[in-house]
């Protein structure tokens, strides 16, 4: 080197600069600038996000990033939410905890999604990390309240315990009493998934009362309506509250007590819970409605008139989750009252009934797309749709970033013209240039995929079911969608050709799921052989795939990129297509 670079900084200065860079993408970019930046960056990276726990091994992470304080891991594929991934598939967190227990004694935060967490893992967390602060278990399973008791008892500085939508073996409500009297640090507590009717209510009350920084509290069904006022009065600083059971015989004193308690919560902006609602108690919320930005009524079986009344009191609403009892009329009211709406999710109240039980159609969604200029994210279950409506929605709302439409009956055509919905979804991808997530439904041919491949340049996640005619459909998507990270497909006539022709594309994505399609076992083997950086896993619960001819289609296929090589914790019904491992299996 001839001369020292005039602008090279000491390492400490660079480290200080890097500490302002929080996003993973930026951090990754920084680490690629040069070797010394790579080194400095890796020593000061505090947060790691691993979108697929099998893409890398715990040791590799620890080796590269020795000073991590916060880790986020995701396990099972998204379709596990809908029972498509058999139990025992994998996604175990214990190996990670075991490695990190030794390597990261100062770990503060663990956030997991769709992973199997055991009581043993929870006990290990409680024992190993002296400064542990945040535990988020989103859609996890495998643990019981005994494990939670260990966390409550040992984690002196616990700030967040969030069990959203997890399956917990609810052995006893007394685990809450394990929080020591000295614990005053809680900021967020979400126990809404606990299904037992027992909860140690007095322990809960005392806990809430002694945590002045508690901002988010989501209760479970065991907490009855009359108890809500007691809790709220102990925590008037709450920003986010999830009720338990919101039903009781209408009694004036209970009502006024409740209304008073809600009105004392001046910071309350977000409400959820609302299982078993008695509409007569909804007006108790009116005092806080003007401040509400987020409302989750998706478990509340209340009818449209009551929903309309409530929603019309919430002009600042940004996020609404609701059942289809809201009906088109409710959505029209929403469109006229809630101009700040950014996210709407409408869930079906009777998804398995053959006949519609409510008057909710494409009209409701069209009304919201017209009336709510900030609408970005939609999840909508309905029973009929038309290309015209989809085109209107696309033209009204080019700022949509997430559009998930589920027409309940598979392969339902445009109800007006009886044509496929290709043109409608095509308009969505064409007009919504920043669309990053899309779920398709209804009658669809290869044409829709041509549109998606042509226009969906920012699309990162695509969900497809009962659609397409041939491999061309899959080929359009794999060859055209430059930003694609996750692709999940079920019951489509996609086979080997498109998959093999686009094999290299799979290394640029996080994962591909295909079930009940036409990919042959032979093609899976070939892919596994030729692409060492991909893990190709075949799932078949009935019999080994090699007991049939190679040309036979596999039942389920999960392909993901990995630098860790094939995994070894597979159950008997999962076969990896890595040659060496297959021979040993």
């Amino acid at each position: 080197m001839q001369k020292k670079m005039a602008y090279s900084f000491p390492d400490e200065v660079l480290e200080h600069v890097f500490s302002f860079i929080q996003s993973d993408k930026d951090r990754n970019a920084v680490s690629l600038v040069c070797k010394s930046w790579y080194e400095i960056e890796r020593w000061c990276r505090r947060k790691v996000f691993i979108g697929n726990c099998y893409a890398v091994s715990p040791r590799m992470v620890i080796r590269r990033f020795p000073e991590v304080r916060s880790i986020k891991l995701k396990g099972k594929p998204h379709f596990a939410d809908f029972n498509l991934v058999p139990d025992g598939w994998g996604g175990y967190v214990l190996p990670w905890i075991a490695e990190m227990a030794g390597a990261y004694p100062w770990l503060e935060e663990i956030r997991l999604k769709r992973m199997v967490v055991t009581d043993e893992s929870l006990e290990l967390i409680a024992k190993s990390f002296k400064n542990f602060k945040v535990l988020v278990l989103f859609s996890c399973e495998g643990f019981s309240t005994d494990g939670l008791a260990a966390i409550a008892a040992s984690c002196k500085n616990l700030r967040e315990l969030d069990l959203r939508e997890s399956e917990v073996d609810d052995l006893s409500g007394h685990w809450l009493a394990h929080f020591p009297e000295t614990c005053t640090s809680l900021v967020s507590l979400n126990i809404s998934c606990l299904r037992s009717d027992e909860v140690s209510f007095s322990a809960l009350e005392r806990l809430v009362g002694r945590c002045p920084n508690l901002r988010s509290l989501r209760l479970n069904r065991a907490v009855t309506l009359d108890k809500i006022a007691n809790i709220l009065r102990r925590a008037p600083q709450l920003v986010d509250f999830g009720t338990g059971y919101y039903a009781a015989e209408l009694q004036p004193d209970v009502f006024s007590n409740l209304a008073g308690a809600f009105s004392s919560c001046k910071e309350l902006k977000s409400l959820s819970g609302f299982w078993d609602v008695v509409p007569a108690y909804l007006p108790a919320l009116y005092s806080i409605c003007p401040r509400l930005t987020s409302l989750n009524l998706s478990y509340a079986t209340i009818q449209s008139p009551d929903l309309i009344k409530l929603v019309s009191h919430c002009p600042r609403l940004q996020r609404l989750l609701v059942l289809d009892y809201v009906e088109d009329s409710g959505l029209e009211e929403l469109a006229s009252s809630c101009k700040d709406l950014q996210e709407l999710r409408v869930f079906p109240s009777d998804p398995f009934g053959a006949e519609p039980n409510v008057s909710l159609t494409e009209q409701g969604l069209v009304a919201v797309s017209l009336g709510c200029p900030k609408l970005r994210s939609v999840l909508y279950f309905c029973r009929r749709m038309s290309n015209a409506a989809l085109v209107t929605i696309a033209q009204n709302r080019p700022n949509l970033t997430r559009f998930r439409l589920c027409i309940i009956e598979p392969k339902t055509p445009d109800y007006l013209t009886l044509e496929p919905l290709d043109v409608g979804f095509g308009a969505i991808v064409e007009h919504c240039k920043d669309l990053s997530r899309l779920s398709l439904s209804g009658l669809l041919t290869d044409h829709v995929f041509e549109y998606i491949g042509t226009y969906g340049k920012k699309l990162e996640m695509l969900s497809v079911a009962f659609a397409g005619d041939s491999d061309l459909g899959l080929h359009h998507v794999l060859s055209g969608c430059e930003s694609l990270r996750k692709l999940e497909i079920r019951d489509c006539p996609f086979g080997d050709k498109a998959l093999l022709a686009n094999a290299a594309k799979l290394e640029t994505m996080r994962s591909l799921w295909m079930s009940s399609c036409a990919v042959s076992f032979g093609a899976c083997k070939l892919l596994g052989q030729k692409m060492p950086k991909l893990n190709v896993e075949v799932i078949d619960e009935t019999e080994p795939p090699d007991s049939r001819p190679e040309s036979c289609p596999v039942d389920k296929l999960y392909i993901y990129r990995s630098v860790a090589g094939p995994r070894f914790d597979m159950p008997p019904f999962v076969w990896t297509m890595d040659e060496a491992v297959r021979i040993l299996h």
């Binding site: 039903a247 015989e249 078993d276 998706s298 008139p305 041939s470 061309l472 060859s479 009940s516 001819p549």
Partner: protein, 227 residues
């Protein structure tokens, strides 16, 4: 390199004269965008693949003969096809526990509703278990959601309401009027609310005390008042 992929799957929609059956990989290449992937994939375009090419032809040549088409049948299977099956399915869905309900779904995992949400939905459809054991009788009575179908003469949609949220005939009829006047312009005086009780008899609503009504109503129908 040419990969002859003699796939026997039907391709009814041939875009721009593309015929996967006859022209194989070359035509895919012509569509563009394939060059980059081929370069990266490397092996699919060079001679080393000859061996695997042969196994492909073997594989696809035998496709229709030896292979069971079990997974393919799933696409053509439509849920809720037959009337009988539908009614039977509906009946079992509302009275069995969550495991049986899963088996009744003709298509696994469709519609795509999280298991978590499905379980809550099923819990809401049933009387709450375990309440009586806790001796919290007041909550027991308040807790039970009782879903009852309501049909109105001349309206296609049959609604389902939770009768427990109402505490009088007046509140029930008010709500029903609001619900159904959207579907059908009508004068409320022209209609009578009738219900079917536990014995299967159809009676006019309003004669018995509200609590007794709630305990015996099975379903309701709003009929024209011809009297």
């Amino acid at each position: 390199m040419e990969l002859q992929l003699g796939l026997a799957l039907p391709t009814p929609n041939m875009l721009k004269g593309f015929d996967l059956n006859n022209h194989g990989l070359d035509q895919l290449k012509e569509m563009g965008g394939l060059e980059a992937w081929n370069k990266a994939a490397g092996c699919f375009a060079d001679k080393d693949c000859v061996k695997s090419k042969r196994s492909f032809e073997q594989a696809f040549g035998n496709f229709t003969e030896e292979c069971r088409t079990k997974p393919l049948l799933l696409w053509s299977g439509q849920p809720n096809e037959e009337e009988d099956h539908k009614d039977q399915k509906k009946a079992t869905f509302s009275t069995t526990d969550e495991n049986d309900a899963e088996e009744d779904d003709q298509v696994v995992g469709w519609p795509p509703i999280k298991t978590w949400r499905k379980k809550i939905f099923q819990q809401q459809q049933q009387p709450r278990v375990g309440r009586a054991e806790n001796n919290r009788v007041a909550e027991n009575e308040n807790g039970r959601s009782i879903y009852v179908k309501v049909k109105m003469e001349g309206v296609a949609i049959t609604r389902k309401i939770d009768i427990k949220v109402y505490h009088s005939y007046q509140s029930l009829t008010n709500s029903l009027i609001t619900m159904f006047t959207k579907d059908k312009e009508c004068n409320e005086d022209d209609y009578i609310l009738t219900y079917q009780d536990k014995e299967g008899d159809w009676l006019i609503a309003g004669d018995i005390p509200w609590q007794n009504f709630v305990r015996s109503v099975q379903r309701m129908e709003i009929v024209r008042n011809w009297g």
